[in-house]
Amino acid sequence: MTITINALKEKIRRKELYVVAVLGLLLVILFSSGAGTLTIDGEPITGYGKMAPIMIVVVNALSGALAIALSIRTIPNEYERKTSHLIWIRDVKQWQYHGYLSLANIISSLIAALIMYLGLFIFAVIKQETQGLYRLIPAFFIMAIGVCIVSLFTSVLSIVLPGMAVGIISAGCFLVGIFHGVLEIAKDMVGGFTGGIISVLLKIIPNLNELQAQAGNMIGGEAVNSHEIFKGLLIIYILTLLFFVFKRKEA
């Protein structure tokens, strides 16, 4: 845990965590303040019940993007600065080293997500939604599964791939993950080879949209599909196992 704490300290010191998360929070507050009116089919969306599920989509999208940004450089930085030399010679196994650093990535991504999520709490307080406020806590934990998946996936890739490639792959997978529903429809519409590729992508990339929907259900007081939550946890477990597979040849 010493490595995790140190990596976290560094992220906190560099203030990147706060700056991006507060920008996200401001965006969420702006979105919910009524400064701009969101309309669907010409009908303004202002009530908590309608607005909260939409806001969770926004928070989820921003949290995922932040998780990628916060996780992409941690492991490569250690190797570029050769801090890894002083860790490897101390008999710390690679999977432990990378695991501890990735844990710091996850924690910082969750802190950033929580800061943005505060926008939802503020919104609930403004709208005097006591019941809704109570449901926001478990909803955050559901949403956090998606953030963990994105952060872990980015961290694991960053062990073996250069930054640019990690960024492109992680962002691409994240977009497929949150637009699973849309892509399901697109797959049937397009058909042929492209449809086949979309079909494969949908099979191998976790459905983050579904997790987000469960968080929305929790906020709205609707039934939550626990199967999706367990699926998310299973993906985290599988990604964790990849630390034993993805290794660096040299420190």
């Binding site: 560094e10 050769k82 490897w88 010679i89 040849k249 040299e250």
Partner: protein, 239 residues
């Protein structure tokens, strides 16, 4: 299975490299290098930039994989390593850095404080409030040496310990190494600053393009030649 005949000399060896080789694609950086380091001696890897000194050290430490040869280490050998360009988080103090590495090294909690204090005093960095960001190059190198000495390793490997230091910094560092030598510590030093080497080392190899071109021993008769003269002669002159 390979069996090695254990000789009297082997028993005294701390480390033995047999024909170790490192290639990057088609470029051979270290070419069938063989040498041994005896217990209690200060051994030098000498050579110009690109001679393969740091690569050799990294192979010994297991930081890079070798393409051939063998590295035999004495049973239960513990190694401390001070890198050429140490990086420590600038917002930490020297004490915090040493505590961090001590914890990673799993040094028992109740001895960490005492050990860290002792090492900081030894390298002259007792001031507990000074952050790394205001450290001079010399202070950073001394801190790197201190972290290498955590848990009292049997073998100490110093990669360019005086590189980039001013005259005073070099003197301080060489005094520290000299003190460690007096304590009987086995040390491998990689350096191209020959005056420093001549002052503290017992033996060494002169490398060029990954190969050993010559050896140097303090006790040998060099017919009045300095290490610098021997080095220049061995590597084939200046330029």
């Amino acid at each position: 299975m390979i069996y090695h005949e254990v000789t009297k000399e082997d028993v005294n060896n701390m480390l033995k490299c047999n024909s170790i080789t490192k290639k990057y694609k088609d470029v051979t950086v270290v070419d069938e290098l063989s040498f041994q380091v005896k217990e209690g001696e200060v051994f030098a890897l000498l050579g110009s930039n690109g001679a393969g000194k740091t690569t050799t050290i990294k192979m010994i430490l297991g930081l890079i994989q070798k393409n051939g040869g063998e590295i035999e280490k004495k049973q239960d050998l513990t190694i401390g390593y001070s890198p050429e360009t140490p990086f420590f988080p600038p917002y930490l103090t020297g004490r915090e850095v040493l505590t961090y590495y001590a914890k990673i090294q799993k040094i028992t909690k109740n001895t960490i404080n005492a050990q860290v204090s002792e090492l900081l005093e030894m390298v002259g960095l007792e001031d507990s409030k000074t952050k790394i960001k205001v450290y001079s190059k010399g202070m950073l190198q001394r801190l790197a040496l201190a972290q290498a000495l955590l848990a009292d390793p049997k073998l100490l490997i110093l990669d360019e310990p005086t590189a980039g230091l001013d005259a005073l910094g070099r003197v301080e560092m060489m005094q520290l190494i000299g003190n460690l030598k007096k304590q009987g510590k086995t040390i491998i030093i990689n350096s191209h600053i020959l005056n420093d080497i001549e002052r503290v080392c017992d033996r060494g190899i002169i490398m060029k393009k990954g190969k050993i071109l010559g050896t140097w021993e303090r006790e040998a008769d060099h017919q009045g030649k300095s290490l610098e003269e021997i080095f220049v002669e061995t590597v084939g002159g200046i330029g």
